[in-house]
Subunit: 250 residues, 2 copies
DNA sequence: AAAAAACGAGCGAGCGCTCTCTCAGAAAAT
DNA sequence: ATTTTCTGAGAGAGCGCTCGCTCGTTTTTT
């Protein structure tokens, strides 16, 4: 706890911390009794799952690879999980729970200032996804291809994030801080800007973009788009008319 | 050809048209001789591949499913492809080639006006990805998990799109049309706005957002962000300082 | 009848998962 | 303190099954 205060994010989002919560949530399907041991091995199993799945996909990752990478045997693995889909459920559930908790608890000094609140959401989402990068990448890439229950959870999570953004935008419009034509659509456009940081992490790393630089870039970009009243109206019909008039493809 | 003039996009990006080009590109690995027959069956095979892969992932899609869905037998399938990875190569190659051709050929009346050029890129990219939606979704979702050569092609494609956007932004800055601090980063932020339309197509469909509405929304959003000179500077240090100061995660 | 195309049973490899077995170390008995 | 018993964690061979892919045969086209 005292250590957690020093490096709050790094510790609260460490694989060990997250696996502690996973152990609680999946007590009944984990046959190992001793908590310290269970968390340590869960962390290795899930760490291996994230590493391998983000490289080659979850479906292509075999339990034998997982066993070797986590230093357990096939049988050992199955004292921690009762099926392969369970691994998916553990990871998606933890990402969804953490993201929801973090984003629905903005600090008090931010709640009444739409600009500051939006900046807080941007910075917090990006920093959280950085601290849990493999987890977020996994949730984003694999969510489409698995059981209905997990699929729905991913959709709900996306909707929740957007609702949080939309609420702040509406508040900003009401207080005169923002000028926005379509709040819902605008919220939808902000979301992928937050996701790009972890979805295309390799690109930004190669390019030398720092996380502070990225947060700043998104903040400025979004801020400028919402503050200027100039261009949003009037061009609508002209723009929608921009349709292909000739064969663009030989 | 005459029909193509009437509905240029629908036809130029039809599965048949794209498969005609695939047949040319992969002549040596397709054992069927008659072009009309080959294109027709290729279209059914690739159509089935896109449908099934976008539902459950390429790796999880079996050749038996593919055979049944395309109305061929296992053996019949193998007169059109010589391996499963080849299917991947066919699709990724066609998406890359088409996207490159379309985006590098802007109409003349647009080249000298940064605003109009950017609007053209936005509208064209979104409309193209709409006409080829399953293809783009496939390329986006599967690119990460396959052989180095294809992986690199996906990265190059991403880089190309960004370069095209960045060049227009630079031109706009030079002509005074835009006010931008970091052209490279800004181009990176516009890209995911174009991709969101096909990556999260289901969401927008459910919400009733039309393609014209989306193009308009992105155009307004980006336009406003680039035109306002107000907010981009000065807040940098303040924003980057927005760091977590306490445990946000219990 | 010759050639081209399609068929589908069958192959070996490798999958998720199970099951019996071992063994270190804690608990109980001496 | 020593011995015995018990137990839960882990090992790894093996099960049934499905995978990508092949190939001798049949059907269709020319």
């Amino acid at each position: 706890m005292k250590l957690a205060r020093r490096r709050p994010w790094t510790n609260a989002f460490s694989t060990e911390a997250l696996c502690t919560r996973i152990l609680e949530r999946h007590r009944d399907s984990i046959r190992v009794q001793k908590p310290r041991l269970a968390v340590a091995n869960l962390a290795r199993i899930i760490g291996a799952t994230l590493t391998l799945s983000n490289k080659q996909g979850f479906h292509a990752t075999t339990l034998r690879q997982l066993a070797e990478a986590s230093g357990l045997s096939m049988g050992g693995l199955y004292t921690y999980i009762d099926s392969k889909p369970r691994l998916l459920s553990m990871i998606l559930g933890e990402v969804a729970a953490t993201a929801t908790e973090v984003l629905t608890a903005p600090p008090d000094d931010v709640r009444n200032d739409a600009h500051k609140h939006l900046d807080w959401i941007i910075a917090t989402h990006i920093r959280m996804s950085e601290a849990m990068q493999p987890w977020f990448v996994f949730a984003f890439m694999e969510a489409k291809s698995f059981p209905p229950a997990e699929r729905q959870r991913a959709i709900d999570m996306e909707a929740m994030t957007e609702k949080i953004i939309a609420d702040v935008l509406r508040q900003g419009v009401a207080s005169g801080a923002f000028t926005i034509d379509h709040v819902g659509l605008t919220a939808s456009l902000i979301k992928p800007l937050l996701q790009d940081w972890y979805v295309k992490r390799a690109k930004y790393r190669k390019r030398g973009t720092s996380i502070d630089g990225y947060i700043d870039g998104v903040g400025s970009f979004v801020g400028a788009a919402l503050s200027s009243g100039g261009r949003a109206n009037g061009r609508t019909s002209g723009r929608a008319g921009l349709r292909p008039k000739q064969l663009a493809h030989p």
